[in-house]
Every structure is written in C-alpha cells, then in structure tokens.
C-alpha cells in the first residue's frame, strides 16, 4: 500500500509537474492572476488529467500495444485528450451551468496543456499499471493545482507591492516562479524515506 502512497505524494510534491518537470507552464503563468481563476483552473485540470490518464492507459494497452503501434502514441493521445476535453465541456455546459461558470472557460485551455499529454507519456515510460497510472495522474493534477493556487495567492499580493517598473507583470512573475521552484526542491529530501 505504501507504494501507492509514495506515487501519490511523489507526484504532488517531489516530482511536481510544474516546478520540477517544467510542464504546463502556460496556464501556470496565464491563469494565475486571480485566486478565483486559479481555483477554477485547478479543478478543471484535476478532472481532465485523471480522465486522460485512464483513457490513454486503456488505448495504449488494448489498442496500440496489441497491434504494435507504439510509435503512434503521441498522436493518438493528443486526439483522445482533445476529444475528452471537448466532450466534457459540452456535457458540463448542458447539465450544470454553475459548474460551467467555474470550469467552463478553462476547459478549452487544457486541450493544449502539455502537462495533460506529458503525464500519460510519463506513466508509460515509468511502466505503471492502471491503478498506479490513475494515482500518478491524480497526484500530478493535485500538484499542479496546489502550485497554481499558491502562485496566484503570491501574485495577488505582489500586485500591491512596489515592484520596480521594468520588473512589473510577467517579469516579476517569472522571478516568483523561480523562487517557488527553489523552495519545492526542498521536497526532494523526502526521497530518503522511500
């Protein structure tokens, strides 16, 4: 059981998808200006990423590997993820307008999110089974949400600070992200207890 826990915690903190793997930087910089949007984006990504890992595992194991088509992985994953996201968006728009309010505008953004493609590919290179894949996907998504929300909180505060003119906007955001990444490096120490 501890094995699963390590996968989960490792994905959230130690191998954080944004700050350590440097994946999904566009939403990380783009949707982190306000805390509310960060919550929405975090929730949407968590949902989609978990779905995508599951679906891509199934496609990989029951379609690509039996026919020896592993070289088509990237292509087929992209298509699947895009379709899943689009379908989810339509279903949400119809069934739950309130959820649409919070998640709606972020879902199309996720289609082109490299973290969503990267995590299924990492799953395969790590040789995870179905449950492990799901856990790793969910953990990465939690890690992404955590970092995004933390970063949005920091940026909201930075907006009120006396930042030198030439550092305002994206520049100071990059510096902040760098400092956060340094801080997350500290979690690498958790490896010792594995």
């Amino acid at each position: 059981m501890t094995h699963y826990l390590f996968i989960l915690v490792g994905a959230v903190l130690v191998n954080n998808v944004v700050l350590v793997k440097i994946l999904g930087l566009c939403p990380f910089m783009g949707v982190s200006k306000k805390l509310e949007t960060a919550y929405g984006m975090g929730a949407a990504t968590t949902f989609v990423l978990t779905m995508a890992t599951g679906a891509s595992y199934i496609i990989d194991h029951y379609l690509l590997i039996p026919f020896g088509l592993e070289y088509l992985r990237t292509l087929s994953f992209i298509v699947t993820i895009a379709a899943i996201v689009q379908m989810t968006e339509m279903v949400i728009a119809k069934t739950s307008p309130t959820l649409q309010q919070t998640l709606g505008i972020y879902l199309p953004l996720i289609t082109t999110n490299c973290a969503v493609l990267g995590v299924p590919l990492l799953n395969i290179s790590n040789g995870y089974n179905f449950v492990e894949s799901l856990l790793f996907g969910a953990g990465s998504a939690f890690g992404f949400s955590l970092v995004l929300i933390l970063f949005a909180g920091i940026r909201e505060r930075v907006e009120g600070a006396d930042v030198p003119v030439y550092f305002r906007g994206s520049a100071i955001a990059m510096v902040t992200a760098g400092l956060m990444a340094l801080a997350f490096m500290g979690f690498a120490g958790l490896d010792k207890y594995q």
């Binding site: 909201e156 505060r157 907006e159 009120g160 006396d162």
Partner: protein
Amino acid sequence: MLMNLFKFKGGVKPPTNKTQSNTLPIAQAPLPSRLIVPLHQSIGGTPRPVVKAGDHVLKGQLIGEADGWISAAVHAPTSGTVLEVAMHVQPHPSGLDAMCVVIEPDGRDKWIAHGPLDYAAMAPEAVREHLQQSGVVGLGGAAFPTHGKLTASKTVPMDELIINGAECEPFITCDDLLMRERAEEVVRGIGIFRDLLQPKKVLIGIEDNKPEAAAAMRAAVDALNEPFLVIQVPTLYPAGGAKQLIRVLTGKEVPAAKRSTDLGVQCFNVATAYTAWRAIAHGEPVVSRLVTVSGNVHAPRNYEVLIGTPMGELLKLATPHPDTDGIVMGGPMMGFLVPNEQVPVIKATNCLIAHSDRVFPPKAPEMPCIRCGACAEVCPHELQPFEMYWFSRAKNFGKTQEYHIFDCIECGCCSFVCPSRIPLVQYFRFAKSEIWAREREKNAADGAKTRFEFKQLRDEREKAEKAEKLAKVAAAQAAKKAAEAAAAAAAETAAAETGAPGNDSAAPESKAVAEATTLPDATLTTVDAEKEAKRAAIAAAMARAKAQRDAMPAKNTEAVTIEQQRAIDDIEARRAVLAPAAVPGEKTE
C-alpha cells in the same frame, strides 16, 4: 450599582489633553458678524430653503424644511436679515460648496414665539414629528436625525437604551461640561427617549476620567428619581463609538450589516438628549451647541456657539497663538483640517482645535508596511487593517471587501499605532468611496439598460400598433367604398334590369376592388398632408427661434477658453455630419 462590564477588543490610549479646556465653565460666544447656516447638516435629504435674500428672520424661525422622513429642519440661529441663499464652502474634507443661508444678525437676538409643549398629552408620533421640526440630530458627530432612531423595532423587544457620555476623543470636553452644568436637563431629555422607546434598562456610560460629570449625572438622576444607571467605563479610545459602548455596557456585539436596533439596543449622545429636552420643554429648536475650542490657543474653553458661526471668529475668542496654521474640526483622531476659517460651525461640530506644528508635529514620511500586526491588535472591530491597506493600495477593491472594509469605523487607532506611520484610514476612506462610486455607476448603468430595453420594446409595439391601425382604416374605407360601389351597382343593375338587361354588372365591382387596393395610398397621403403641416409649423418655429437667437447673442461665448472653443467646434462638426440624417419630420416616420 455595581455592574459587570465587558470589554471590546483593541483600542488605544492617546494622551487625553482634556484638562486644558474642562476647568472653566461654559461661556456664551458673542454674536458673530454673520452666520452661514448650511441647509444640509444631517444625514438624509437636503432641507429645502423657505427663506430668500432680504427676508427678515427671527431666532428659531424655520429656514430649511425637512425633505423626507430621514432629514431634519434647519432654523435661523439669531434674528436678522437673510443676505443670500447661496453656495458656500463647507466644513468638510473636500472643501466643496453647498447651499447655505447667510444671515446678518440685527443684534437683538429676538426669539420667534415659542413656549413649552404639553409633553404629557402628546402622542409619540407628535413628539417625533416635533423633534424633526426642531432639527434635533445626533450631536455626537454623525448627525443622524434623532426622530428616526426613536421608533422601537416591532420584532425585537427594546432591552437597553444607551446614553453616550463617554467622549473618548482627546481634547474634546463639551459633553463633559454639559453633564457637569446641565445634568438635570440631560436626564429629563433621556426621560423623553425612555418614554418613546420603552426600554427595560437605561444605561448612561461615562468614561472614568470624568468623575465630576458622572457625579453630577448621578445627583441629577437621584434628584429626579429616575431608574437610570450611571456607569463609569474605563478610559480607552474608542469607547465612545456607539458599537464599542454597547459592547462595554451590555456585552452585545452588533454584527456587520446590522444595526443596534436589531439587537434591542439604541444609543444616543448626551447632547442630543439635552437638545431634545430643550425642544420639548421650551419649544426651542437646535440653533446652538457646545463647542470645545482647544489646541494651540491661550485660553482653551467650551463655548455655547450659534450654528453658522464662522470658525475663525470662534477661534479668536480663545486667542490662538500666532503660529496657528489651521483649524481641525473634531478630535485629533477622527477630525480633519477645515478648508478655511470662514467655514461655519455646524450641528456636528463638537470641537475646534487650533493646528500648529508645535501641537501636532508633522508626521515623518510613510514607510513600507512591515506586517507587524500592531494595527490588527488595536482595531476595535477586529479587522485586519494591514490586509485592507495592502489591497486598498493596490486598488484591488474586491479583496478589501472580502476583508470587511465596510465594518471599519475609521476610528484611527491603526494609523495611531502604525510604526511605519502609514495613514491607514486614508487608504480605507479612499477604497470605500471608490467602491461607493462604482456601485452608483453600476446602478445607473443598470437603470439605463432597463429603460433602454423598455423604450425599444415600446417603439416596436407602437410601430406594430400603428401599422395595424393603418391597415384597419384602409380596410374600413375599402369596405365602405365597396359597399357604395355595390349599392351603385345594385342601382345600376336595377336600372339595367328595367332599362337594358344583360348589362355587365361585374365591371363596377372590379372597379371597387381596384379602388380598395389604391386606398391605403390615399390614407397615407392624408397622413402625409398632416405631417406636412406639422413640418411647416416646426420650420416656422425654427425660424422664429433662430431669429431670437440671432437677435440676442449667447452670453457665454465671449469668454470661452481654447478647450471650450475646441469642444464647441467638435460638437458643431458632429452636428453638421448628423444633421442631414435628422431633418425634423423624417424622424417621425
């Protein structure tokens, strides 16, 4: 008599500076050279002026009539001549003008006929009405019309009536002196409030740095045999804030967005009780009040001052030191520098402090917030001023509201303790007024949108109705013509039958049909003719107006600035472009 007191969180203890002005008895300020009485002196509607320049008024005569229920009347403070009803600078931090009645005293100070009212026989409504007509407002500083607070809530039983004699701000001693010298009238005034509100308990809160006032009030309560409790509360700023005093005396905390009435508590200032008693027992409206004059002056003291007295003239009575460079209205914590010394004393003026750098050394420049949390510790409303400051500064107003900026009473405790000398309250006031302005704009935009949509709907409906009407008229006329034609045809056929049988009777019918089809055009032409007449009338009127305008050149075009001229040219150019599209008459089609 012993009572368990509660505490409110936070608070500060600034040097009280009260002993300078509370040693001498109240003095009567002499008549000033002129009186500038603002019409809008209380929260609520602006009273309408009922006098005009040249009128002679008597002391206590109505000059501004209350506008609506939350509004209080304004009266002439002395007898004399109305010089003008005009805009004058207000004792307000903005330094903007508002409508004032300027009176030149005739020196006789002659009262209008007035006398005691038969209070025992008056219905509660009549008492409230009389207080409104007498201009009785909260004299603690907020100037809320008192009668508006004297209706007990129907749903919540009235538990406590709190009388505020705490007077927590430094320098101010006018309530102190009032209680010392006129305790009996204050207690009688409280009696009126008690009769109107029927509370279970009446608590008079006085800070324990005013033992004489408390003793005088106790003596008066005993002498009048009233069951009021005079309670000395610990000296701690802002114990005199209504919510804080309620907390200290009753332990009840007034929640955000609720009023104390909802908890069965009502709070009045001692001076308000005094003026209420004067209004009922003597029929005197509020034409004067006690004002502490202190600060950078030789002889600090309390004066009974007529409303409308220019502040400069009042300050001269206390002989200010030569280095005085301004007047602060209110105390040092919540007061503000008035725009000039001609601004009048109003009902909300409890204190004038002569300002100089000696008494109030200039603050060193603002430094960055170090998030020490000192402001949060002293905030009497348990807010987080450092967070509110941060977001006000970044103009992130949504966040300031999340931190409950509207619960802030602007007491100034946070600014007082801030080690970085940040003027926190100024940031909060800025954020609040920005939020209010946005709210106003949003409401205006929403209103405009609904009216616009309604207008569109109406236009469409009218168009449809008009078309329908036109069609009906056309149909009716066609039917009439057809009937006529049929009758004619019948006659013809009858004639033909008698004369020449076998004549084609279909011809007139087809003629009638043809006529009916051309009919709408006919009706349209009549409508057009009407319009033509209207158009001619408009053209004539235009010519007339133009002649009138040419005969009398506009007065305001002589001294236009370049910008104004440019703006005019712009408008003219736009008009030239739009004019062909909007020739009168065509618009109505």
